[in-house]
């Protein structure tokens, strides 16, 4: 098996087709690209042609949003076969998926839905990751979710859950710093403590994205992981904590809704480059 991530410890962005020409003309700080696997499972046409061309110039990270690794049943074999086909021809630098479920009884719900953290769900998620890694012939990264609620029957902290799954399967982890901030705010947890407890030696990639602000029934803040705006300042501050613990890592800016013009996204990548450079200086000092 290949290693979990061969991405450079540098900024990347989630690729959007509307940025194709501007990105190729001036990538700025961007050194790699992430694509959503499901958008490149057609048989041909422009999406595949663009991806082939981009892959000649940039390392590509394939990020799945539809494998339903946290589902009650094993990953859909047809979908896994499509994923294998994509990874086989593209040979990406990394493949990652979410600690979440999205498919139930043949229906795909197009959202990342939560699961309780118990020994039983550790075993189930680990079995599914074993199967994915076996079929793909590569290690994968598993991403921490954004949480809006908790389960009464959870018996483990999320960091312990992720560590247990990684230990059992050998998979790497993708630490989404915005998700940590969103979940900690929504559930009244300590984001810095989450970062301290996170198994940084497993991390193959970091994510940053924007969130929206709302409130729950009791007036408590409820942050929504919308990927529709710039990364919030406290999330950049939390990133510094993460980099302080784990050192520089491949760092992705996600912007999936209300997608801005290329210079705006490139500026976010520039800010990510500064954060990585500062962390490298601190580590060397």
């Amino acid at each position: 098996m290949t290693t979990a991530s061969e991405l450079p410890a540098a900024p990347g962005v989630g690729y959007k087709p509307q940025h194709y020409s501007a990105l190729l003309a001036d990538p700025g700080a961007v050194q790699w690209l992430e694509i959503h696997a499901e958008n490149y499972m057609g048989d041909g046409g422009r999406p595949i042609a663009q991806l082939r061309h981009l892959a000649e110039r940039f390392p590509i990270s394939v990020h799945g949003v539809g494998l339903s690794i946290g589902g009650e049943t094993r990953p859909d074999p047809d979908h896994l076969a499509r994923l294998k086909h994509l990874c086989d021809w593209l040979n990406p630098a990394s493949f990652s998926e979410h600690l979440a479920w999205s498919t139930h009884d043949g229906a795909f719900l197009n959202d990342l839905l939560p699961l309780p953290y118990t020994e039983r769900t550790v075993a189930r998620v680990a079995d599914h990751i074993d199967e994915v890694q076996e079929v793909l012939g590569r290690r994968m990264l598993l991403e921490n979710p954004s949480s809006y609620l908790a389960f009464a029957d959870s018996t483990m902290r999320e960091t312990d859950f992720l560590r247990a799954v990684a230990d059992r399967t050998g998979c790497g982890l993708l630490l989404d710093v915005n998700n940590v901030f969103v979940s900690a705010t929504n559930l009244g947890l300590d984001a810095r403590r989450y970062v301290e407890e996170f198994p940084m030696d497993r991390v193959g990639e970091l994510h940053l994205g924007g969130h929206d602000e709302d409130h729950d029934d009791h007036g408590a803040p409820l942050l929504i992981d919308s990927h529709g705006r710039a990364v919030a300042d406290p999330v950049w501050a939390l990133l510094d904590e993460v980099l302080g613990h784990g050192g520089p890592a491949p760092l992705l800016i996600e912007w999936d809704t209300d997608v801005p013009d290329w210079p705006v996204l490139a500026a976010e990548a520039g800010r990510a480059r500064h954060a990585l450079a500062r962390a490298a200086e601190r580590a060397a000092a």
Binding site: E38, H104, A150
Partner: protein, 252 residues
């Protein structure tokens, strides 16, 4: 978590009137309440947005409010069958055909099938079209026996309604009013962008016959059987110009 808990979660996500599953809490152990609405909203809005983006002409002609109400009903009855959102909406045409509130817009189902076919063509496999020199080298006397293939991006639609004219009227400024005549349409993809072409009488039968592996002579007869009179030159020229003809599939 019992084996059916995700089933309960799904049912509650898809039905805003359903009770929030009791095992869901906020960070202090209180019932999750409207926190659950984040998931309801994500599912309904993301699927509605996907349909709105993929069926722009239907949305323009129904009006945004009516289209979104239709999408909301559709996504609950027909959630995506796979994570490939590019394939979502295949049954929207049939769904709208059967919707009583749309009975005055009986063409809307064909328009949805047309928009779906455009998208389907966009994602279809690439093909190597037959070059002009290959075609020119075919001796005229052997043409009736010659078989061709069609590029995987080619689609033929038959409509009892002026579906192409309705689509143009909805998507192109200054397009003329649709006349009440049936229209057959060829969707071809010369490079990466699917383009629709109005077909003449018998042309759809001709293209379908070629696609089914019939030699040119048989395809011409199939067109004649439908249209009474048919000149294959125009449709053949269109297929060549749009890079729609390929070498035929090897025959067993």
């Amino acid at each position: 978590m019992s084996g059916t808990d995700q089933g309960l979660f799904r049912a509650a996500v898809m039905n805003p009137a359903a009770a929030v599953p009791s095992s869901l809490r906020d960070g202090s152990g209180r019932p999750a309440g409207r926190r659950f609405a984040v998931y309801r909203n994500n599912v309904a809005v993301s699927l509605t947005e996907a349909l709105a983006e993929d069926f722009p002409a239907c949305r323009a002609l129904l009006g945004d409010e009516t289209f979104r109400a239709m999408a909301g009903a559709y996504l609950r009855q027909h959630p995506p069958a796979s994570p490939l959102m590019a394939r979502y909406g295949a049954e929207l045409g049939a769904f709208m055909d059967a919707a009583p509130q749309l009975s005055r817009m009986r063409w809307i189902g064909d328009l949805a099938r047309f928009e779906f076919a455009l998208r389907d063509s966009y994602h279809a496999a690439d093909a190597t079209p037959l070059g002009a020199e290959t075609l020119a080298a075919i001796p005229p006397e052997s043409l009736p026996e010659r078989r061709f293939g069609l590029a995987p991006s080619v689609r033929v639609l038959r409509s009892d309604w002026p579906v192409l004219s309705i689509w143009r009227r909805a998507t192109e400024a200054g397009a003329p009013q649709a006349q009440p005549v049936p229209e057959d349409v060829l969707i071809a993809r010369p490079a990466y962008d699917p383009e629709p072409h109005l077909l003449g009488p018998g042309d759809a039968a001709f293209v379908d016959a070629l696609g089914a592996g019939a030699p040119l002579g048989e395809a011409a007869e199939a067109a004649l059987a439908v249209a009474g009179a048919h000149d294959a030159t125009a449709i053949l020229t269109l297929l060549i110009q749009t890079r729609s003809l390929t070498e035929p599939e090897p025959r067993p």
